[in-house]
Symmetry: C2
Subunit: 510 residues, 2 copies
């Protein structure tokens, strides 16, 4: 009898064989997964030796209920021509599939359930050892976040001076890292790695953490490359063929996990030896390899990559000015996720010392205009365990308020808010007048959300479309919802309390 | 014996004559004021009839101590070939002359005393009748403002539905203004004015109010044209030759008042029938006519006039984003006065509902980076007397804090702050690193001011220039100054309290 796999779960095939030479480089393994007329080609990967034999695996995420079969091709006879079958069953309770772009500016799970990225960032939480990593997972279980930005490679940076539990390649660092290198970029890579041999344990660890997030309903926005190495390990300076090999290996290992997103880099423009053509190439490589077509993006420091390129599924933006969200939506025609707008904290960096209030204003500005904004926390503590990098616990005042915002956004009619105003996005003129808005979004004529931030109006006037509406006043700081009128029609004045942090939602009555 | 006039005060000559025809159009009067080899040509103006005879006047602001003489030329024989003399004495106590641009980005009075525009806006306070106007003057006497934006012509707009005490031309409005016109622009002018005849009483009233401000040490930033008429009087729609005649008449009457600035328009770009060439022409006309070369600027709604044009002395900007000040300084190479960044208040307009906190943040951002920012207040009250337009009293929480900011700015070494950072302004890299600043300004290596706004760092690191420095922590909301270190040199960490609204000033020790 065939094994059964729930839809959007992953099936893993394991094959043992004697390997000669370098199993990473010398053995090819492709597995074709077939469902009816559909064929999903998947690359297998070498996962190290067990009981004296080499272990190869191949993974697939079946996305359709019914009978599936598979067969292998390999240059290693023992791995070639194998085949099997399995049954894809209905998904497990609460499983909705991988996240996709819908309706131009928004996201939904594969089964159509709306998905709203309310992200946080713990860049290298997964390189901190089990005790802290498990604490991070406990924190996340009670936090409002539906996406985590995290790095494949370890990080050397301010407040990031520790070594990871293990390394991605065979080899051991020798000597002591020179702290003065932290001010330098493009430090040549050290020579103690065997870039021809991955360390499977490193990737098994990464997989475990991605699946831990999956169990919590959190998407893993996986940062493939980043510049924060400064000669510590040289993972930012690897040759092109090694980068390609990393990408192939990651796709082979991870693409079957439904909660994986590919973020090609953090602050790609700080990796100055890589050109736009290099990034284009890496994007297209993964686009070609990934049988499940996970979301793909790239994150900037200063200048943007051209998010309009066809292999980019959505904009991943670092910027402090959230009033530009509607402009980016119009410019790129894709969802805008401002993954980094500054972090709540108190450290000596401008990006890491936002008050909770300021971060919350940025969140509301971005979400109200149809974008998505990401969180991070950088409160200093004597252990130098800052959430933004290592995870651990949260202490900021923005977190519960982001939870409130998430509730508000989840209550918007699907797929979500479009920006409002005559701003070139092609969206309709909102009932407040575009010149007179702080921030506004809408879902057709059924739902409007207006946000006033640091403004304190005592009244706002709306020219409503046909029909009757009701209004609610949202206190974004105190997290309250108060009725603000029902049976509204035509031109109406809605009273506000004359204090900051207010929003109004106006909904068509049934 | 010759009369005596203190330096930078104004002398007024008055001549009576029988006038035939239209004395405004048919009589020319020029007076040449001569001091040594210097000749200041001034236009006289008709000021109406007294005791049955026409009265012509000519005014001059002598700007150099010593003997002056004058002589007239006119097509009216009774006014032609007259001459006289006077002595210019040292200035009265506290009089420093008209304000000029100094050191590219700053202002000073003619005697070199630094002048910092800390402006407010009461667009038509001078058209409200004596009771309210005198209340406004009493309010100003206790307020921190050194500049007032005010209009020559009355205003019809939201909260501005009253008639002025008198009108600038001979004629009387007939009929009732149609309120629906307030949504329209470019309403044709009514036909009940005699644009060939000014009403001198109107201009005498304006002069009185300008001199009232002068007595309080406040510059009158006089808005010559504006679009807020909507068919009430048609003063926004006058033919070109009438506009020219208005400018000539205003220069003739007002240029001798040392506290006059010429602001060619408020929101010039909303006067859509006027082209850039029209504004160029009006600028150049006043530039040619004004013997005292008062400051000249023009204020935008959306797009900017090209402030780099040579007849513009400084940028008068409406914009909400004060982080752009350094960019505008670099772009135009002139002082930047953000006369309108939104107003503290609670009305239903985005520009009129800033919290005191938000206005204060905008002030500090702009001033810290070497610009100047203007105030206004729009709290609704049942009389609809909003300070921003009619004057009256102030109730906002920003005013005392602007007074504190003014003290801070006045304590900067002259001429004032230049923007800090590698921002293309040619200014030096500041000791915080330009990528890591919220806002920063400096006066050479002697003085640095850093502002943190809605950020809450607990520490900031500075790489100080050679020498020893002391630091003070400024709480911009609570208006306190606290020592934050002395004898500082090299790379130093300065502790901050981890709350918003903080600034640091770092001064070279003597």
């Amino acid at each position: 009898m065939s094994p059964t796999v729930p839809r959007w779960d992953h099936i893993e095939l394991a094959f043992e064989a004697e390997a000669e030479g370098n199993p990473f480089l010398d053995v090819s393994l492709q597995v074709e997964f077939v469902h009816g007329h559909r064929r999903l080609p998947v690359e297998g990967f070498y996962d190290g030796a067990m009981h004296g034999a080499g272990v190869w695996r191949a993974r697939c995420m079946p996305d359709a209920v019914g009978d599936w079969r598979w067969e292998t091709r390999s240059n290693l006879p023992a791995l070639d021509g194998l085949s099997g079958a399995f049954v894809c069953a209905p998904p497990a309770e609460g499983v909705h599939g991988p996240v996709q772009v819908v309706d131009r500016y928004h996201f939904a799970y594969a089964d159509g359930t709306p998905y709203h990225p309310v992200g946080t960032t713990c860049y290298v939480w997964n390189h901190q050892g089990d005790a802290l990593e498990e604490q991070t997972l406990r924190t996340l279980a009670d936090a409002p976040f539906s996406k985590m930005r995290m790095c494949v490679f370890p990080k050397r940076y301010l407040y990031n001076l520790n070594e990871p539990p293990c390394y991605p390649f065979v080899g051991e660092p020798t000597g002591t890292w020179d702290r003065s290198l932290i001010r330098q970029r493009d430090v040549p890579p050290p020579d103690y790695w065997d870039f021809d041999q991955f360390n499977p344990a490193y990737f098994q660890r990464l997989e475990r953490r991605i699946l831990d997030l999956q169990a919590l309903g959190i998407e893993a926005d996986l940062i493939l490359f980043h510049p924060y190495d400064h000669g510590a390990w040289g993972f930012d300076q690897m040759p092109r063929e090694v980068n390609e090999r990393v990408l192939r290996y990651l796709v082979a290992r991870l693409a079957a996990f439904r909660n994986v997103w590919w973020s090609f880099a953090n602050e790609f423009d700080l990796m100055r030896h890589l050109t736009t053509a290099d990034w284009d190439h890496y994007f297209r490589l993964v686009q070609t390899l990934d049988p499940h077509q996970h979301l793909r993006s790239i994150h900037n420091c200063m200048g943007f990559y051209d998010h309009a390129k066809p292999w980019v599924t959505h904009c991943s933006i670092q910027h402090h000015d959230l009033t530009q969200v509607a402009r980016w939506l119009a410019l790129y025609g894709k969802p805008v996720v401002v993954d980094e707008c500054g972090y709540e904290g108190d450290i000596g960096q401008v990006w890491g010392s936002l008050s909770a209030e300021e971060l919350l204003v940025r969140f509301w500005l971005g979400f109200t205009e149809g974008g998505y904004v990401g969180h991070g926390e950088t409160y200093w503590n004597p252990e130098e365990r800052l959430w933004w990098s290592k995870g651990g616990t949260l202490q900021g005042e923005s977190v519960p308020r982001i939870a409130f915002l998430r509730e508000v956004i989840e209550a918007v009619p699907p797929p979500g808010l479009d920006p409002a105003g005559a701003d070139g996005t092609g969206s309709r003129l909102i009932p407040e007048g575009s010149w007179n808005k702080v921030a506004g979004g809408h879902r057709g004529d059924d739902y409007f959300l207006f946000y006033y931030g640091m403004h304190q109006p005592r009244v706002r006037t709306f020219h409503l479309p046909e029909g009757r509406y009701r209004a609610e006043l949202l206190d974004t700081w105190n997290m309250t919802v108060t009725p603000a009128g029902a049976g509204l029609s035509g031109t109406v004045d809605i009273a506000l309390p004359g204090r900051k942090h207010m929003a109004l939602r106006i909904m068509r009555e049934a």
